[in-house]
Amino acid sequence: MPRKPMLDIERMRSAEEALRREARRLLADGVVSVFLGHEEGWDGLAVPSFATSPEDAEKLVWNPLVAPHLAKYLLDRLAGDEKVGIVVNGCGSLALERILKDRRFPRERLYIVGIPCTGILDPARVADLPPERRREVLETGRAEAGLFLDRCSWCDVPNAVVSDILVGEPVAEEPTVHEYPRAARLEAMSLEERFEHFKDLYERCIRCFACRNVCPACSCRECCLDQWEPLWLGRATSVPEQQMFHFIRAFDVAGRCIRCGECERVCPMGLPLMDFNDKLLKDIAELFGVERPHVPTDVEPLGRFDPQDPDFEEGAE
């Protein structure tokens, strides 16, 4: 079982110090032309920050709310050859690995600052707390498990899997037996119940593409969902088109999804989008014996095969 997520405010404060120091150095010495981190935005929310000067580095924060992953922003900087600095914790580094394994950004143009992590809070859940409780949580770090990001509940990558420098003591990694409660819950339902569950989701979806745009595995130059020729997806938001939308979105990242749940976190309609990915992760693990399907590999599970794979004629079900 995974480590219980917890907050160590002290650890974070010193990490923040080290992070600023590193960023300042990198920018001052011209090692990188921009450093991707987080800064305090509206209402104390941690928002992506793009420091271009040593002074900017002072604005960088590392606190319980640094939920947004930054790797996807690298695609905005594909043109050019300047080096980019970026800060990642464990799950953030998975996002980065995803981009790298998908060959969407050159490793040599990166300077990666890794920060060991014991847990990050879900900003939305914190925002829902009464002001005084909110303050208490953020200052003391005393937060119940329910306040953390879902991805913290199964995290087996507390330390960056890829980095040029690690600031702070690595967190002990513990082997994790991965479970997929979201999928399991739905599998327990009847066919009709599941259909209704997703139909409701389709009907509430406004197709703003936030889920796709934030997804580190959705990095195509031009998404098939935006194409007209062929028209993979009609522009209507009817149930069948919404089903197609969410099918393509989830199935195309099958085997490459890092289970970060960012899609769900950024959804303005609060849709349970990981219900899709959770199932695909679960089945890839079960069917093809991939123990950690969320960790990017050199050849994706659907890009390889084993002659002994489960066969439908013998009944894969």
Binding site: A79, S219, C220, P230, G303
Partner: protein
Amino acid sequence: MKRVGVFLCWCGSNIAGTVDVGRVAEKVRLLPGVVYVEENKYTCSEPGQASIMKAIKEHDLERVVVASCSPRLHEPTFRRTLEAAGMNPYHLEMANIREHCSWVHTDREEATAKAFDIVRMAVAKALRNEALQPGRISIEKKALVLGGGIAGIQAALDIADAGHQVILVEREPTIGGRMAQLDKTFPTLDCSSCILTPKMVDCAKHPNITLYTYSELEKVEGYIGNFNVTIRKKARGVDEALCTGCGLCQTKCPVKVDSEFDVGVGKRKAIYTPFPQAVPNKPVIDKENCRYHKTGKCRICERVCEAKAIRFDQEDTIIEEKVGAIVVATGFDLFDLETYGEYGYGLYPDVISSLQFERLINASGPTEGKIRRPSDQEVPRSVAFVLCVGSRDDQKGVSYCSRACCMYSVKHATQYREKVKDGRAFVFYMDIRTPGKAYEEFYRRSSVDYGVEYIRGRPSKIYQKGKKLVVRAEDTLLGRPVEVEVDMVVLAPAMVPKHDAAKMAQTLGVSYDGYGFLNEAHPKLRPVETNTAGIYLAGACQGPKDIPDTVAQAGAAAAKVAALFSQDELTTEPMVARVDEALCSGCLWCKPVCPYKAIEAKTITERVAGRTVTREVASVNVGLCQGCGACTVACRDGAMNLAGFTNDQVLAEVDDLLADLRPACGV
């Protein structure tokens, strides 16, 4: 919208008997894009094809749909028809309303409705057909032959005689291979080296053949017509240009070791040529055993060499060649006889292998052809020949039959009886297999004329008794145990793939079976091709063979190469994958799923917002791509597409079919 002509075939009553073709025609006429519809009794007939050509011109059709039999039958026919009418042949679509409809349905209504759907889908696809041009790739008219045994020699000579350059690569210091070790060949009993060595010499002298002996293949890149091969020429320790092959070094060399060529029954020096007629007749220094290499002292060979050809410090050289075709003739190994402990091979000196026997009866062998048994150099008064040692044995050996052992053992027994008039020859066999010209007769003669004694039964044990060896078996014909005392036992080992066959196959990118024999493209129809275009097979690397079969296959492989080289350019199937570079993100997840290694990364430069950027995209090698389309599904943004089966076309087939049967969008 493209102008589509639809030609509905009755196929006599084959289609018209079940499908109301007239009704289909009426409905098809109303489809968007269809400007001409015609029914024919037999569309594939001369008049049928003629009227297609006529219609193409009169109604300036841009696409043609033929609704008749399976495209697997007549697609090529009608493509030619279109071409003849000056239309791109790939503007054809076929609707299979016979095999998939009229022949399998009985209800006229249902069959007619389905036929209409099938045609409609074909029209939908045809509307999105594009003109396709076969690709062209250049051919380097030079062949690489791997292995200098009889298979390699034959293939090399045939290709060279056809007027093409050949590079013959042999791992050993000399060409000749197994056949050079043999004494005589069945069923004619003519001398093996007498028929082989002239060919070896021809190889060496042939103006079109470049010989690399004591060399190994390191790397293969590229594809049919354009392979880049890297060959490692191992250091001989001897300057071949200077060496006259006088052989003085060998006589003077103080080091004696077992000869691989004589399979341990004879000796050689540390500087040696495997056998007198070696080609090239230039020695090599065996560094493991050379005294100078081991102790730093000696250099006798260097001193005696008048040509000053000895080069102790010589190093391997790497040779790179561009070739258009590769013939693999890497031969076979023999089954490890020590697996059968009960036969005492390696334990009793007089239990030997068939190949060792070949050396013993070979006039140029260690005993000058006199049969003397290893232990005491006595002439064996009786010899037992044991067949299928390893062959046809699921437990300890291999399941297959090695095909040659029966005949060469019959030959051995015969030869023995010739040389030792009063000797007795026993052959222990499971079945005697003589499928070959004059084989059965030869076998019959061995028992009738030479009195070879055949015992049907696989020996269970062989053990020493005094100076004798006792062979115990069950005579399965008489159904009783037999024990035979003999002076010598000759075991016929199974023919197995070369120990490094799998590695070789991977280097070449060809497939191989569970044993390690290389796979032919088709067991019946493409026996000398591999699944990798431009790579062919000859001899025992593909499976156990005797010499005649090997030579035949080598000739066949050579013929394939010659046929390939008879063209200046190779035309390739146009229905292959292609990349839309504007879309391609360069993730290259298409690469691992390609069975033909046809996808590579390629760097392109483009202008983006006023600045030049370079990025990587996937690129398809049309020479390698076979058009399976696996890559198109691995490609998420649809940058990879398959000509002839584009995403657009498949979606159109689905949409147009169902738009009528299951109207969507409320229409």
